[in-house]
Point group: C2
Chain length 375, copies 2
Amino acid sequence: MALAINDLNVPQRLLLGPGPSAVHPRVLRTMSTALVGYLDPEWLSLMDEEQALLRAVFQTKNTMTFPMSGTGSAGMETAFCNFVEPGDTVVIGCNGYFSERMCEMAKLYGANVKRIEKPWGGVFTPAEIETALAENKPVKILALIHAETSTGALQPLEGMAEVVHRHGALFLIDCVTSLSGVPLNIDGWGIDVAFSASQKCLGCPPGLSPFTVGDQAREALYRRKNRVPNWYLDLTMIEKYWNKERVYHHTPSTTLHYGFREGLRLVLEEGLEDRWFRHQAIAEYLWDKMATLGLKLFVPRENRLPSLSTICVPDGVDDAAVRTRLREAYNIDIAGGFGPLKGKIWRVGLMGFSSRRENVTLLSEALREILHGKI
Amino acid sequence: MALAINDLNVPQRLLLGPGPSAVHPRVLRTMSTALVGYLDPEWLSLMDEEQALLRAVFQTKNTMTFPMSGTGSAGMETAFCNFVEPGDTVVIGCNGYFSERMCEMAKLYGANVKRIEKPWGGVFTPAEIETALAENKPVKILALIHAETSTGALQPLEGMAEVVHRHGALFLIDCVTSLSGVPLNIDGWGIDVAFSASQKCLGCPPGLSPFTVGDQAREALYRRKNRVPNWYLDLTMIEKYWNKERVYHHTPSTTLHYGFREGLRLVLEEGLEDRWFRHQAIAEYLWDKMATLGLKLFVPRENRLPSLSTICVPDGVDDAAVRTRLREAYNIDIAGGFGPLKGKIWRVGLMGFSSRRENVTLLSEALREILHGKI
């Protein structure tokens, strides 16, 4: 073979973008474990443990709780392909890139999509949700993004379910960039369907999407008139592998599950409340440091997401040039904005193992050197 | 938190089932590498290398060649959701479990499915394919399983494309249990669409599905009347991330790709022809050893798959008890049959890093002890 391709030799980057975040060394190490078969009794015990850990992290008793075999977007599609039937009205709060993706997927599965809109970076009040539900009834699903990765806004969710349920709708949330980094209580807050991603605040590699479904939503799923129009993400089949039936559906990614289980263990060892506190404290340290550099945050403090901060690019500064310099001279990876925010913001993720004080100290000093032309 | 869940502590199994096969230590080690971002220039170079390696393994020049973010079944769904439009006639060779799954998926996407049937373990001749195509024209897709994991049969493919293309159909194959373990030449054999899995003969963890699409099929994809009715597996969007546009679609599983790239490197270091020869030689050694134990193989020698052998369970022997004993006393994992072959066969995979002489020696002696009641 003429192909001469070298050993893997990737640079050691400090991952402070929107994800993947830095993976904890214990998670990385765990993934070098040799594999077992997908029906091995020892593997089936690991699945039970993984579900118990995940329920604790989601703060739910939902039986139907497991990671889907795909990224957060696969989780989003799981939500819409299983719970939307053609003609269902789905109200979606549109305030950033990922809510647009929700609209696209809901339409793909035949929903009658009703958008409620805010400028990118805005969030919704229960009164606004109430109005949208009243104007469009009957509504099957009300969908919100808890933590909008494209804008850095945190959507308050407490008290929202009462409004949604009073109108007979299911409450569906994207918690991709919040789970384990921001307070979230699936059962306590009355959330019916939620999906997340392994590579954000959970500090694992990408490839799994934690998913949970409450009883009301599960009943709606089994009342569908037609089968779920997606094979790989069909919860009715996947559930039969995760519950005691153990019916083969597709081969789980053993290695990713090993790492994910370790990541969940790390979350619970730290404690959910302590972990939320850490994410908040490290983010506030970043916000303070940015202020000392004269940089403004894009989202007002009351709606600001701790796991992903959006910093306004100052007038006259070349967004991409700064990011390139950060990467090439300091091995630090942050992201730019996109859509209406392209060139206007930097996105700094402080999630999971990336959420550490020394990372903020380093990033701030590197930014100071670059912006003040000291190097 | 009340959850006390221990360190990962899995038994060291010898994986001789239908997959996952044993992962090569170099692949396991590579996956403990720290991650980089999914738009990092260094990562983009790795993607290019991965595609070059995968093309060499598939023996194709197809531009649209990359691993899908899912298991082999996600690859199968990718094939049907992208290339089937409602009402298209799809002829499927039905001779085992995975061809039934093909029928299910093709129907899900609106195909008019025409089954041609063989008993489980049988294979099709070009004349039989020709008849089916002539009787059902116009046919959009002719689909076959190259290596049927449920039966151990190898479907000959050489010369088949000429028939398929003469009838104006696309030639689609499942090479999940054959890629890099059995001779396969995508371009040389005129295959239009093919999908595989990382955890079989490629010796990597599950979670990626190598996929390739020829020019004819790609043109058919872009001539679709409606968009692909599946978001996560939509090749038109995924292609834009793998080609030079680098448009974000979903976050790739960095860690799985690190391992996969290493697995592909190992294939090409060994050389495709040498690797095929090894899989054949080790399988023949198994077949000879089984003969010395008085055990019969299920599939006639001329159609026998080297990567997965199916052994008839002798009369009066309890299939499951033998497998349990193999696992508990010897840490060896093999599989039973299912569907019409439940209780009738054992399935022994000798794939990738599991395809080694010493594994067969051990399995044979363990089986001899168990069957002859020596222990």
